[in-house]
């Protein structure tokens, strides 16, 4: 049976159906619609003012690849200067291949690339070393906790090196939905209170961060990458199966099968959560050691590294802080 004509331009044959609305669109119209929606998000949320120097967190995966591509297409209209910042966590066998993909992208799109490595920034600690150090504690390793915190510090550092004014990351709607589920399951009221918006405004000297792809579902991101034939690295991190997020992801997949709009419904719920004032995080100050944004005396990155260096990796994790 021949494919129906595209619903918007009516000329070309439809190549795909949009997951959100079920419409049949040709590749070009879909990409145009996708880019238009990202543009609308950026404009309506006033995320990136004209003249901003934007550091794109590039991991080589599909989300950051699509983000970089879309922003590059929209950059002239928005008046942005883009830089790619890649973080090398030191996970053998995984990160090297991903970084190679980022390098290819930077070369193809002629965007300046900066690579920041954990080993340089954090006194020789790579993720593999962290994993070995936390492996002996009996329960699950929680190396994802370390990686997340340290990566944000590394991204901030990389952004400063290129003189950026904003940081963007490629989190999509599915990531946000998983995050809110995960935070509820773990009872993390502070993170629930902080999340939900389109990014943080950057208090106390930290650079403002935002997530332009936040309202695009993962399926659409993949469709976009496929339509534009983008080259990205698609394997899962070696440590991912141990992460708690896996449970939330599993639940989300099943919920999506029962009701396709559940991803955006969860994002809407997260935007509208009202938490008691006592549960909200305290006003941010500065870390006493490195000067970064912190809500306690030491920022989380310094606290984690402290624990690692003292041979007590779980020092800053859990309730005993």
């Amino acid at each position: 049976m021949p494919a129906p004509p595209c619903a918007s331009c009516g000329k070309a044959r439809a190549a795909l159906r949009r997951p959100r609305s079920g419409q049949a669109l040709c590749g070009a119209c879909f990409c145009a619609a996708f880019e238009a929606e990202v543009l609308r998000t950026v404009l309506a949320g006033r995320l990136l003012p004209p003249g901003a120097v934007v550091a794109v967190g590039a991991s080589g995966g599909k989300d950051s690849t699509v983000l970089a591509h879309v922003l590059r297409a929209l950059a002239p209209r928005l008046g942005l200067a883009l830089h790619l910042v890649a973080v090398d966590e030191g996970i053998g066998g995984y990160r090297d291949a991903a970084l190679a993909a980022v390098r290819r992208q930077a070369a193809r799109w002629e965007l300046p690339l900066t690579v920041v490595a954990y080993a340089d920034l954090f006194g020789g600690w790579t993720m593999d070393a962290v994993a070995r150090s936390t492996a002996g504690s009996g329960r699950s390793r929680s190396c994802c906790t370390f990686c997340g915190v340290l990566r944000r510090r590394a991204l901030e550092e990389g952004a400063r090196r290129v003189g950026a004014t904003h940081i963007v990351t490629g989190h999509n709607a599915d990531d946000m939905a998983e995050t809110v589920l995960m935070n509820f399951l773990r009872g993390d009221a502070a993170r629930l209170a902080r999340g939900g918006g389109l990014g943080s405004r950057g208090e106390g000297g930290a650079l403002p961060r935002c997530r332009p792809l936040q309202l695009a579902s993962q399926k659409e991101v993949v469709l976009y990458a496929h339509s534009r034939r983008l080259d990205y690295f698609s394997e899962e991190c070696v440590y991912a199966p141990e992460a708690f997020r896996g449970h939330a992801r599993d639940l989300l997949k099943r919920l999506e099968a029962a009701r396709p709009s559940v991803v955006l419904d969860l994002v809407h719920s997260a935007e509208r959560l009202a938490l008691a004032p006592a549960a909200r995080p305290p006003r941010p100050g500065a870390c006493s050691r490195c000067g970064a944004l912190a809500s306690r005396a030491l920022c989380q990155a310094c606290a984690l590294l402290d624990g690692l260096n003292r041979g007590r990796p779980r020092l800053a994790i859990g309730k005993g802080r």
């Binding site: 709607a173 809110v180 009872g187 389109l198 559940v262 997260a270 935007e271």
Partner: protein, 422 residues
């Protein structure tokens, strides 16, 4: 829960509860597709147990929603303080949970004074308060909703309205429901997934005053299901089992089932999951997030509407815009100045009748909060809905239209000018 209240009201207890209880039993057999004989059998079993308790009890069938007045959906202006005279009112809502009832008269039954001359329906299978036509209408309503998720939510809504009505009719000021900690944790996650994140505090908190004069309280929210089961067994509390709308449904059938299975599975692996989720629910407040003013209330669930503007950078904005963009190829708007468009794009060459129906449906959906909207979108038309909902919806949309007409002449209190918007 009933047994606990009985204990609390007895003369021997240290701190005697001070209210006058009644019991409501809602027969939902029509929604679950049970035959009239099955329903009558369950009803007589339930009656036996209810009469042994000795509290005044009211049995209502879900079909009676078709005879509810539209005032059920209106929030009365006065506070609940005045009408304490007739005491409190209890409702065993979870008919698929084991209803806790007491058997035997070893405890002294509470001769609570001022029990009121409440009218008990007699124990015989007397005249039904509903007609076969209503049963059919109910079945039609539930069949017109396609997914089990939306059906469960609809059932919940109708049940709440019915119980509210019974409470108001008999002058009760509080409704107690028997949800346990586990059930509330499941409901919390389910409501998150349904888009009701703004109202979690009302849906799962201890006291829920959004209906104005009748307050819904949940006294059992600290007890887990396991504790309840052990209690029932140890104290030989008899119960009546009735199949619910989702009995024997496969796990993937609805969001409620999925979340329940997931949470119980996770609980087996991480034993603190349910209590963690429950503790998180305690940290939720009822105040809206800063920046959201109080406005009109949802037609069905009576919470303040949580809808953003159609072109805002939120999940709602993204969904409402995606309906429009393929129709008109967007010439990338310069600033956020997209003119607001009607939420239902008029298709070319459609019949006039269908247009009106679409309009009526669009107006109906506009009066609902995000979560109710997602559910009600599955209804093909508004006809199967009970008359009280349709009447109230029409009334509200009429009022909204009138208000829009005279908007520019109204003086807002404390106002930042709302005029000239449209």
């Amino acid at each position: 829960m009933v047994w606990q209240v009985l204990e609390g009201l007895s003369r021997d207890s240290a701190k005697r509860l001070r209210f006058v209880p009644g019991i409501v039993y809602v027969d939902e057999g029509a929604a679950c597709g049970r035959s009239p004989e099955d329903r009558a059998k369950t009803l007589s079993e339930a009656r036996l147990v209810l009469e042994a308790v000795g509290f005044p009890h009211h049995e209502v069938a879900l079909e009676e929603v078709f005879s509810l007045p539209p005032s059920v959906l209106r929030r009365p202006a006065q506070g609940p303080a005045e009408t304490q005279a007739q005491g409190d009112y209890k409702a065993a809502v979870d008919t698929f949970l084991q209803q806790q009832l007491v058997l035997g008269a070893q405890d002294s039954l509470p001769p609570a004074p001022g029990e009121g001359q409440l009218h008990h329906p007699q124990g015989l299978p007397g005249p039904q308060s509903w007609t076969a036509a209503q049963t059919q209408a109910l079945c039609r309503l539930f069949e017109s909703v396609k997914t089990l998720t939306a059906r469960e939510e609809l059932l919940q809504t109708l049940r709440t309205h019915l119980i509210l009505h019974v409470a108001r009719a008999h002058g009760y000021s509080k409704v107690m429901t028997g949800e346990s900690c586990t059930r509330l944790a499941i409901r919390l996650l389910t409501n998150l997934a349904l888009g009701r994140g703004a109202f979690l505090a009302w849906d799962t908190g201890f006291c829920d005053e959004r209906h104005g004069d009748v307050v819904v309280v949940r006294p059992m929210r600290e007890h887990t299901l396991k504790e309840v089961a052990f209690y029932n067994r140890l104290f030989a509390v008899p119960s009546v089992f009735t199949p619910a709308i989702d009995t024997k449904a496969p796990e993937k059938a609805s969001i409620h089932r999925l979340v329940e299975a997931f949470l119980l599975r996770l609980q087996a692996q991480f034993p603190s999951t349910v209590s963690t989720v429950y503790r998180t629910s305690e940290k939720l407040t009822k105040a809206p997030r800063e920046g959201c003013a109080s406005g009109p209330r949802c037609l069905l669930c009576m919470c303040t509407l949580d809808i953003d503007a159609a072109d805002s950078a939120t999940a709602f904005g993204a969904q409402s815009c995606s309906h429009l963009s393929p129709m008109q190829l967007p010439p990338l708007p310069a600033e956020a100045g997209t003119p607001p468009t009607p939420c239902c794009p008029p298709g070319p060459g459609r019949a006039q009748g269908a247009d009106e129906r679409q309009d009526a449906q669009a107006h109906f959906l506009e009066q609902l909060c995000y979560g109710c909207r997602v559910n009600m979108k599955e209804l093909a038309s508004l006809d199967p809905l009970p008359p009280y909902i349709q009447a109230e919806a029409q009334l509200r949309s009429q009022r909204a239209w009138v208000r829009r007409e005279i908007q520019e002449f109204l003086i807002e209190d404390g106002g930042d000018g709302e005029d000239g918007q449209s």
